[in-house]
């Protein structure tokens, strides 16, 4: 009995044969197909989780950086360092905001026009999956850039030269003390 069939087209040359799956292999195959079927909602869920994480981190680090930015900039002495710190911090926050925006777009369910044909529907679904993944990747890339910029801004903040602290000389008050009042003055 011949249980193989030649494929119609050339590459790759594959023949079909009868075989048997173990129950474990069958379960794993069902599991894999389930994942494939749920790729779009799973990717969107992943994007939403990522957005929550990156938003929390940005809020935490961004707020702290912004609040103390004025003092840091005033303290840096050659103005170039202050400008560099401002630019790095600004770019870091813009990158983080971009990352959040892209993650949000990736996590959003779109409202596409569903085509009537099965083939077009499959193409649409695959396009949506690819788009979601692409947005998520860009979001992660921007988050990475934001992190690097933030680290650089911290480096400037910690290691750039600062203005020398103004020396405050103690005020000396001279009080003339007459002989009569000498006994009444209490020095504290």
């Amino acid at each position: 009995m011949s249980d193989s069939i030649e494929p119609k087209e050339n590459p790759p040359q594959l023949k079909l044969h009868y075989t048997v799956l173990t129950p474990e292999q069958r379960d794993a195959d069902i599991w894999a197909e389930e994942i494939l079927r749920e790729r779009l909602p799973r990717t969107r869920q992943l994007a939403q989780n990522w957005q929550a994480i990156i938003s929390a981190i940005t809020a935490l680090l961004g707020a702290g950086t912004l609040i103390s930015a004025d003092d840091v900039i005033r303290a840096l002495d050659p103005p170039g360092w202050a400008v560099l710190y401002g630019v790095l911090t600004g770019l870091a926050l813009i990158s983080a905001a971009g990352s959040i925006l892209l993650a949000s777009l990736a996590g959003q369910a779109s409202w596409p026009v569903i085509p009537p044909g099965a083939r077009e529907r499959l193409a649409l679904r695959e396009t949506l999956i690819i788009r979601t993944r692409r947005l998520l990747k860009w979001s992660q890339l921007l988050a990475g850039i934001a992190l690097i910029l933030l680290i650089c801004s911290f480096a400037v903040r910690w290691y750039a030269p600062e203005k020398p602290a103004t020396k405050v000389s103690p005020t000396v008050v001279t009080i003339p003390i007459s002989l009569q009042s000498a006994g009444r003055i209490k020095l504290q």
């Binding site: 790759p12 594959l14 079909l16 044969h17 009868y18 075989t19 048997v20």
Partner: protein
């Protein structure tokens, strides 16, 4: 009268897969992107089934590990079969097929 829905590998599966074929399609202008489908009459109900195996062949081609691939094929014909669970298509027949690279 259509066959009743029955889940599992039918006795006709082994011989029936002789009539299944691997269909390779290439959309115009898609470069080297091909789609791979196992198509043909279901060994049990004889209605047309189609199983897309891009997700198996694609990665295997990329990893050059095409010597032996095993796929589970389930009848997904569009004909009605008595006793089929809600939302499912096909007659319930399923079995494994080994794709051998030549």
């Amino acid at each position: 009268m259509s066959l009743k829905y029955e889940k599992g590998e039918p006795a006709e599966w082994r011989d029936g897969i002789e009539n299944l074929q691997l269909e390779v399609r290439q959309a115009p202008g898609s470069g080297n992107n091909r789609t791979y489908d196992i198509v043909g009459p279901c060994p049990r109900c004889k209605h047309q089934l189609r199983k897309n195996i891009d997700y198996i062949v694609g990665p295997a081609l990329a990893l050059s590990s095409l010597e032996e691939l095993v796929v589970r094929v389930v009848c997904n014909c569009t004909s009605a079969h008595e006793g089929a669970p809600e939302g499912t298509s096909g007659c319930g027949a399923e079995g494994a097929i080994k794709l051998e690279y030549t």
